[in-house]
Symmetry: C2
Amino acid sequence: MNEFLKVNPWLLVEEGFAPERIKSSESLFALGNGVMGGRANFEEKYSGESLQGNYIGGVYYPDKTRVGWWKNGYPEYFAKVLNSAFWIGVDIRINGEELDLAQTEVLDFHREMDMRRSVLTRRMRVRMHNDTEVEIEAVRFISLDRRELGVVRYSVMPLNRDAQVTFAPYIDADVRNTDANYDEKFWEEVRTESDAVQSRTKKSGFEVAWAQAVTLEGAEFQVETRPERVCHTSTVNCRQGEKKTLFKYVGISSSMNHPAEELLATARKVAHEAQETGFDALLERHEAAWAARWHSCDVTIEGDDEAQQGIRFCIFMLLQTYTGVDTRLNIGPKGFTGEKYGGVTYWDTEAYCLSFYMATAGQEVARELLKYRYNQLDKAIENAGKLGFGEGAALYPMVTINGEECHNEWEITFEEIHRNGAIAHAIAEYIRYTGDKAYLAQYGLEVLIAIARFWAQRITWSAARKQYVLLGVTGPNEYENNVNNNWYTSYIACWCLRYAAEAAEWVRRNYPEEYRRIVEKRNFDEAAECGKWSEINAKMYLGEDRELGIFLQQDNYLDKEQMTAEQLDPAERPINQKWSWDRILRSCFIKQADVLQGIYFFQEDFDVETIRRNFHFYEPRTVHESSLSPCVHAILATKIGDMDKAYEMYLRTSRLDLDDYNREVEEGCHVTSMAGSWKSVIEGFGGMSMEDDTLAFTPRLPRAWRALTFRINYRGRILSVKVTHDTVLVENEGSPVTIKLCGETLLLDKQATRSL
Amino acid sequence: MNEFLKVNPWLLVEEGFAPERIKSSESLFALGNGVMGGRANFEEKYSGESLQGNYIGGVYYPDKTRVGWWKNGYPEYFAKVLNSAFWIGVDIRINGEELDLAQTEVLDFHREMDMRRSVLTRRMRVRMHNDTEVEIEAVRFISLDRRELGVVRYSVMPLNRDAQVTFAPYIDADVRNTDANYDEKFWEEVRTESDAVQSRTKKSGFEVAWAQAVTLEGAEFQVETRPERVCHTSTVNCRQGEKKTLFKYVGISSSMNHPAEELLATARKVAHEAQETGFDALLERHEAAWAARWHSCDVTIEGDDEAQQGIRFCIFMLLQTYTGVDTRLNIGPKGFTGEKYGGVTYWDTEAYCLSFYMATAGQEVARELLKYRYNQLDKAIENAGKLGFGEGAALYPMVTINGEECHNEWEITFEEIHRNGAIAHAIAEYIRYTGDKAYLAQYGLEVLIAIARFWAQRITWSAARKQYVLLGVTGPNEYENNVNNNWYTSYIACWCLRYAAEAAEWVRRNYPEEYRRIVEKRNFDEAAECGKWSEINAKMYLGEDRELGIFLQQDNYLDKEQMTAEQLDPAERPINQKWSWDRILRSCFIKQADVLQGIYFFQEDFDVETIRRNFHFYEPRTVHESSLSPCVHAILATKIGDMDKAYEMYLRTSRLDLDDYNREVEEGCHVTSMAGSWKSVIEGFGGMSMEDDTLAFTPRLPRAWRALTFRINYRGRILSVKVTHDTVLVENEGSPVTIKLCGETLLLDKQATRSL
């Protein structure tokens, strides 16, 4: 385990300067406010190894696809959220010598992230080559209260002599992506003025302006500009023990929200208003906004500080990444912590993240996530069309930012079609949790029809088997490709067919006008189409092995040499780094929950014994080399009462990045899987689920914990749940609501408690 | 059909200048002598669209692999035979104006390739902007007699006035590949002297020198050099109607054959000796060498000039591409006609080309082809090792030039492993045809053991089926990937296991010393290993459908929607251009013979009814979008007596490039498939096969033909076979030999004839 970060319930704390850890810490200490964010790069120059990253949600560049061998149907580009201007910069000179931790003697280094308020603080003591010792404190936040504002406070104090200190706060828009298929620069200058820069992304034409307002008591600034860069420089005399503090307020406005011609003025206004408001007042409002966030979603774990810190970090990162204020945004796998996966949307959103945002930020935010896909429906229909499907069938992209497919590996792009199922499933999950069934009439049904149409075309009638089959797919287990009858995909496909038909009937009965609109808009023939869906559903082949009592992950799975992950030499793990792809494909090892993912999604369809048999068969074969895997196993393990396995899986998921299990956190944090960690606490140990349309709790703690407390937003109320080994207590801040507690239905007024 | 080329039994003739056809003609009129060759670029400047190509067999560059998503096991580079110096160049100025057919009025244009002697001639009349009309004749050949020599004769005659004519023969080594993954230049200069250039390939370090000697009666040349380019310029006064003729002799020597420091001298010597010998004498020797070639392999078809031209073109291209003088060389899919596929070796060599070279160039040449793989055995063992196999198992690469794998598409690189079978099969085919069973002891057995070891490891025991299965392969039909139990692959794998065991036993009994050498070198435990192979062979699952009476191409094939190619809208073909890859994968359509390829390889194992049932099932589902497909179908169609289908398939294969069926000949000709065309004539209509160890003929002509005559080299004799609709006549130029004629075994002395 990594011992670098101190265990602390509310803080991430790094002590001591370790250049080899800089990139990892840049990921872990990243800041974000849901619409923009960035890695924890230093404000001052740093010539050591670092990955610069500042990202603006939704501002992307279509990077031309790179492949070895082109296949028809591949997209032309991969849209990626791109590294944008380095707005945090403050170059420092001490008696003329540049401050650069890679070149300077670092005597003391302390970095901390206060997760309660999303404030990043760095304190350090350095000795320059000119023997001047200085103490530095840098504090930074990206305002949750004013979404276009970033703030830096940077103090320097000479310790052993008087010194001339030069502060040079700057904005540098001349930046590149590390991840660029053809080493192109993605930005071009629009204009550079004395305090602001405006740039445009090539091809996609997004424009962004950055403006800074700087304050340093008693100092005058000189302006230095060059294309794509503005810098304000001031040199002050500083007595020994005297602290000089720079305040830097940066407005960041994009053409996603303002006309391009107003961007500079807008950014400037944000910066200058902030300067007038002042650092302390801005921070106070920012903290208040964060306190409100935490109020509805904090989780406390007594008796296990590591677990406590782990889950807080997960929640914190999720809150920093997405807030639901903008339907055009979504949750990239790395959030604002790195370039990898391009900041684009995967099925992670629906399969893992929705529950978290729904139960913390509430119904409106969850609805925004669903509408993101609704807004991209016509693109999904186009996408299916490119692959040869017609008549309004939709295939949602594997990876997207604007609705167009960006992924380019045939076995995933064309075959990992189960993503379509997760998108339908999220609609059902949303409606069950919120009760907002009207969503079907407004938006949901159109999506469900288009998805059902896809499955109806993609499923094949096998004249040989006299059953419907689903050929050539890749399941969640990406360690097998182009398989036939992947159980998970077939199961969710059938469920989609049923659910779409039920939804159509419900809308027809309850919202006849909306129904007519949809029938016309989508050319929907309910009788014929639902008839076909029902026939497919009735005659669908779903593999199982009766002798083992398990569902078959795919045809031929049992033809493989059967081994368990325990039998693997630890030196050969992770197999995705140690084995050839060929060997992985032919092995029985499972990258992430596949059949178990399906059982998790549709728990009510299966009795505990069925879950247990499948769990005991598939769990030992799963190597969890996707960050999205252990959380599902943790939840199912609690269902079957295997608390040790559940706890093992929980540890694996919740501190994945903090402890850098996979030695890759320097690329960014696994943000979407953090929602899975939250699920494993709330749905696993907290035992929260929807039973029919009622919120239910059947909690059970792992041995190591004394108590678990969590808060959720349920239909507009904040519920607090406290679980110990003996009792569960639910408190309600809002109006009474029916829940199920340990199997018993009750009307929850202020509070209820049950023994365990 | 393309009407551009005239139908002529021995000539390719192009009349009229058509810029849009230039690149296609560059491919079709390409020259080669087995060790080097090049496209039919013009000698004089041509600023229109053109693909410059001059290739030296075996001189390659390792171009860094480009992929979208890296997978463990991918090779680091793709070795490609690269475009090398433009040695044919002769710039021409007429009264100071540069001759460039893209800029000049072309009054007459005639190009012809005399396939009998491999001489390319171009005659044309042009009118310059300065109104001077000139007649030009350019003759070029690459000597089959002196393998390092290329010769150009270039004549200019002013027609309507006197003119100053400038001849500027040059060598330009400053060339690039069109196909370069990262737009790199592959060559660097070693030195440039007054008449010669020496260059080195980057990374691979091959060196090549080109030297020219030029003659123009009564003229002096001025030397102009710049790095990587030498040019000799002479301007002569030429009266109206007077022809001035330049002779250009180019020596081309590579470090594959000479020490690098002797290259310039060697190339210069070749050029100067040629200059002394003179054009006519050189041409005579070249023609004699070609006559000898044709003597053992010509095919004549009476009554069908298109078919005649088609098969001559195929044979001609094969003779130009490979002669067997150098074990390090092999047969690239495009020969010396283009860059595509990098001039590297595929399974085409063993599965298609071996028969042709064996039956025309003879045993020694065929043996060279086998030894190419023997020499790369240790690399094939390494290659298998990279994928996780051990204990001396070999996986020959999908694509290679030096034995290392170059291909980088997992579904082919790792899974199209049937290539291993073809390499073993070629050994058996060679031994049957030549009788050279001792080859096993010298080289063959080692290869067979390593291949059998691979299969034994790659085949899986299915505890569920209680049979051995072969999971995750791609068959010859590349329109399905990662399938289970591909019949062709499984069948040839089993055959390899049996054949390797038989070979081991035979070598042990007949060459005990060689056997001991092999046992020790390869750590071979015959009892244990052959025991295992025999067990696998006995319990191997081979799919069949009893009801249909066919072998199953792969598991789940019959689950697909069954259609025939005839049901396809012609506008949707070829499907590899019109359909998404996804749609292709899920369709039942077969790119190229797969089960039928296996039936073709192992014809003796199947009765005619079995062949007929499988043919009638698979043929209609095959779209023949690989050039390697129709020939196999043509041969099997003759076996089952479907002569119309056989003829249709023959036309498709033999004039594929001449008529540019696939609209891609501008990239180069399909050289390896031309061996398939030859097979379809000789093994199909000529009915030639090996029955046990006896050469047999059971010929049958298509209706359109009056007679078919062919010559083959069989065990050192030239046999001539003449087939009409009524009779077959076999003549023998050598010592008596036993053959089977129409089912009857006889000792063939001078000749034999049978009625049909």
